[in-house]
């Protein structure tokens, strides 16, 4: 397993609509190459609402935050969790060759790419997105790291 990029500067938002938060760029993940991307996420107290995270591959949102696949509970409390995206660079007939698993406090999620196919091209950029359910709470994301696995 080889670390191929990371971003360890926290990004936060109180936006009710999806915004980009953390970016790891200058990657070169070709088709069929296994990869793992993972990041920490948190929400503050302030309102009985959840926060949602998602992800973008190159310029395409493949997990939309609005669909709630990487989420939290809606109790008015601080929570933190962790998300992983497992996959392989997409190839023909397998444009959604990745899945996310996440957990925060007592909630957990495992799902496919709900929003769009990944383009059959080298993955150069991974971007975490997010939004909040109430502007009185803050979503934070930090420590996005990307790894590839050997295939020979």
């Amino acid at each position: 397993m080889t670390w191929v990029g990371g971003n360890t500067t926290e990004a936060t938002t109180t936006s009710l609509t999806a915004v980009d938060l953390i970016t790891v760029s200058a990657l070169s993940i070709a088709g069929a190459v296994p990869f793992v991307a993972q990041f920490s996420y948190r929400k503050t107290s302030g309102a009985a609402a959840l926060v949602n995270s998602g992800g973008k591959v190159n310029t395409t949102i493949v997990i939309a935050p609005a669909t709630g696949e990487i989420s939290t509970g809606s109790t008015n409390q601080a929570e933190s969790g962790y998300a992983s995206l497992y996959g392989e660079g997409p190839i023909t007939n397998y444009p959604r060759s990745a899945m996310s698993v996440a957990g925060a406090f007592t909630t957990q999620y495992a799902t496919g790419l709900d929003s769009a196919d990944m383009s059959i091209a080298t993955i150069t950029d991974l971007v975490s997105d997010g939004l909040v359910g109430n502007a009185s709470i803050t979503l934070g994301q930090d420590d996005l790291h990307v790894y590839t696995l050997t295939t020979s």
Partner: protein
């Protein structure tokens, strides 16, 4: 000013009692914690409504107490409003039968593709099912995920020599495909 020796991948140490500094290599880097042990990168498909073998990696030797992982892509075609299900066999033992639900698809008449990851550990009594399966798939319809242990049978005793993905479809008008199966072991020291 950049470190003179660090830039060369070396460090400078002054031995106790010595007169001159000497150049020494840094400690050896830790071995890669994950080792690739095999793959099957030729797609296999089925329209069978009963369980069949799809991808396989053989001639392995995964011992007791050795962590390992398996991953593969999977897809289903359109053609009928039916599911396709995938599973896993270790040696000759089906540890997760297709249809149990760990690696599912939607029953929507649409093209879908996804990914499955299995984290496992060579058995050591009394831990006879040390395995965890995650999967996720989506098409135009709702995404679907699986998250389960090994529901069908205990893992075979070490060594594990063969990894086999399994599959079946709910209607022969749709096709299930598996591709790009990769297996790795993890270091334990």
């Amino acid at each position: 000013m950049p470190p003179l020796f660090g830039a060369m991948g070396m460090s400078r140490q002054r031995p106790t009692g010595g007169l001159f500094p000497i150049l020494v290599a840094p400690p050896a880097a830790a071995a890669n914690a994950m080792t690739w042990i095999g793959s099957q990168t030729t797609e296999a498909t089925t329209t069978s409504t009963t369980e069949v073998d799809l991808l396989s990696i053989s001639a392995l030797s995964i011992g007791a107490n050795t962590p390992f992982s398996i991953r593969f892509m999977y897809r289903k075609s359109a053609g009928a409003a039916a599911t396709a299900s995938s599973g896993l066999k270790l040696n000759t033992t089906t540890v997760e039968a297709p249809g149990v639900g760990a690696i599912p698809t939607n029953a929507i008449n649409e093209v879908e593709s996804g990914f499955a990851v299995m984290h496992l550990h060579g058995t050591s009594s009394p831990y006879v099912r040390p395995g965890l399966i995650y999967s996720g798939i989506a098409g135009v319809g709702a995404p679907l995920g699986g998250n389960a242990g090994l529901a069908t049978a205990n893992m075979p005793a070490a060594p594990i020599t063969d990894l086999v993905s399994l599959g079946l479809v709910g209607n022969p008008l749709i096709t299930l495909g598996h591709d790009e199966m990769q297996a790795h072991t993890l270091a334990v020291s």
